[in-house]
């Protein structure tokens, strides 16, 4: 057997005879049907060409379909085929794609998609509030049955999203502190207001930057992990398995994640802010010659302690928002890879946006306090 080939002869009336040989099949490793089709194109275009397939050794669906599509999906008298191949051709003709009716231009489609978007958004809100309510109910239940508290999962989450996040939050906090300290000391130095670096860095880092930086990192780090984990648990039916054991999924999966992250976030805020301040102190020491001793002695005098309280409250809220959003998107994942990746992306994006919105609202509510 040989690869697919053809030979063209011309009779006295000027008509072409195309004779096909060899394996017209994907099995023959060196066949390229696209090339064959291209080189046969002039003969396909000519209605009077005679086709002779009697010498073909092997013909499979791929070869037959390629020929058939060029013949306009029908056989005629100019085509002679082996009887054993006729059945294949007839089957394929029966499977021809029916051309869809042309869709009319739909002027309402933008409105449609807008409506769909709104409905989807409402679904999100409904499900999110359902999750929130069931979480609160579980907490209420735990007040009556404290022994059911999932301590093991809680501590695992504290460890995973808290302790394991220490190095990265420290590093990023320190570097941002250095950058801010460096830029601000440059500006302040031109006004001779060197000492105000402590005020600016202290207030901005403790009140704003520390909590937000922590929340962004945690959303990217732990939020995405939570969504993906819950998603895979859904795909592999683990959540259903839990339910059949009489264990509430909110209690065992959502609650430890939310409470764990809410518990550990204020601590992470403290940690991140401290490193950012250290970075700022380091930069002002280099740029302005302010000693560390002075920096940290002066800090509590110019930044009111209430700011620290506000920052810890922010930490609590951000941790809660990130974890709850992560669980919400995790529970919506459908069992396919596309949904998993979409939901994880949405989870991180929504968590960060949510944190920024909450931060803005909180900033407005507390605008008179501590500044």
């Amino acid at each position: 057997m040989a690869a697919a080939s053809f030979r063209v002869t011309q009779d006295d009336k000027g008509r072409h005879h195309v004779q096909l040989f060899g394996q017209w099949s994907l099995r023959a490793p060196f066949n390229d049907f696209a090339k064959l089709k291209k080189s046969l194109q002039p003969f396909f275009a000519d209605n009077f060409t005679k086709w002779d397939l009697l010498e073909v050794d092997q013909l499979d669906a791929a070869g037959a379909a390629t020929l058939l599509s060029s013949w306009g999906n029908k056989l005629n008298d100019n085509i002679s085929i082996k009887s054993e191949h006729a059945e294949l051709f007839n089957t394929l003709i029966g499977l021809t794609k029916k051309t869809d009716k042309k869709a009319r231009a739909d002027w309402l489609s933008p409105l449609n998609s807008l409506g769909k978007g709104v409905i989807q958004l409402m679904h999100h809100f409904a499900e999110f509030s359902r999750l929130l309510v069931s979480l609160l109910l579980e907490i209420a239940y735990l007040f009556r049955q404290p022994q059911d508290f999932p301590w093991r999962e809680f501590s695992a989450n504290v460890y995973k999203s808290g302790v394991n996040a220490l190095p990265v939050t420290a590093l990023l906090g320190f570097m941002i502190g250095i950058v801010m300290g460096y830029l601000m000391s440059k500006q302040l130095h031109t006004f001779g207001a060197d000492v105000y670096i402590v005020n600016i860095l202290g207030l901005s880092i403790i009140r704003e930057l520390g909590p937000v930086l922590m929340a962004v990192l945690v959303a990217g780090r732990s939020g995405s992990a939570m969504t993906a984990q819950i998603g895979v648990m859904r795909v592999t039916d683990e959540i259903d398995a839990l339910t059949t054991m009489g264990i509430s999924r909110t209690l065992r999966i959502v609650l430890p994640k939310v409470l764990g992250l809410t518990f550990v976030s204020p601590l992470l805020v403290l940690w991140t802010s401290s490193w950012a301040l250290a970075g700022g102190a380091f930069a002002s020491n280099l740029e302005l010659g302010i000693s560390f001793r002075f920096f940290f002695d002066y800090l509590p005098l110019v930044v009111q302690p209430i700011n620290l309280t506000l920052s810890l409250i922010k930490g609590l809220m951000f941790g809660f928002v990130v974890a709850l959003v992560a669980c919400h998107f995790g529970l919506r994942i459908k069992p396919n890879t596309e949904s998993l990746s979409n939901s994880t992306t949405s989870s991180v994006v929504t968590a960060i946006s949510g944190v920024i919105v909450v931060n803005a609202v909180f900033a407005i509510l507390t605008r008179g306090i501590g500044v």
Binding site: Q23, R27, T66, L95, K97, N336
Partner: protein, 262 residues
Amino acid sequence: MPDRPKKNCVEQEVICDLQNICTEFGDNIVHHNLNLKVSRGDIIALVGRSGCGKTTLLRHIIGLTKPISGKVLLFGENMHAMERVAQRRLMQRFGVLFQQGALFSALSVFDNIAFPLRELKQFDESVIHQLVMHKLALVELEPRDAKLLPAEISGGMVKRVGLARALALEPELLVLDEPTAGLDPDRSHNFIDLVTQLKKSLGLTVIFVTHDMDTLVSLAERVAVLEDKHIIADCALHELINSSHPFVINFFQSIRSRLEGL
């Protein structure tokens, strides 16, 4: 195209040749100097107790993993010592049905089957449509199933679609990992019939792993028993009775009654 053996010796052509395979996972030695030959046209079953390395052996054959020592020759060539284009061409000569189907979950049934065809870049969409519909009909699925996503179809259908995808490039060798696991007896019976029929009409060679006795008895022409890191028996099912190995005797007890019914 390289010369293939002439028709009269086609029966003897060795399609898959495993030579002195050794596999270890950490301290666990799975295969030790294992040898196996599969000839063109065979339907060979790989049996053995759970965890004895059957699936690992299949993965060696299809080139997903590489044994620590020994050679895997597929169609007479060593897949790991080839250049990329030739390797790809070799891989198009066999089709694999994974235990869970391994359908691309983001693609519809149609796109799953069309995927290998589109990758060839030789066909236009109308031809691909015909070919996919042809493969669907081959595994006895309805054209309307083509639009469904893998998550929306039943386990039996997943296997059929997986088979259709494995058959899309007209392979010579079909590798099935637990083809009937998770199917009800009726479905698994149909599936076996389907494979047997396809084997006949397409001239396939089939290697499969199974734990299911019915599948074994009704599908396998040859049985390779993997035990003690070796292939301890490689013969037709009814010849297993002559073996004196305790595992085979034990194993044979369970299928004796079924064989007597044949």
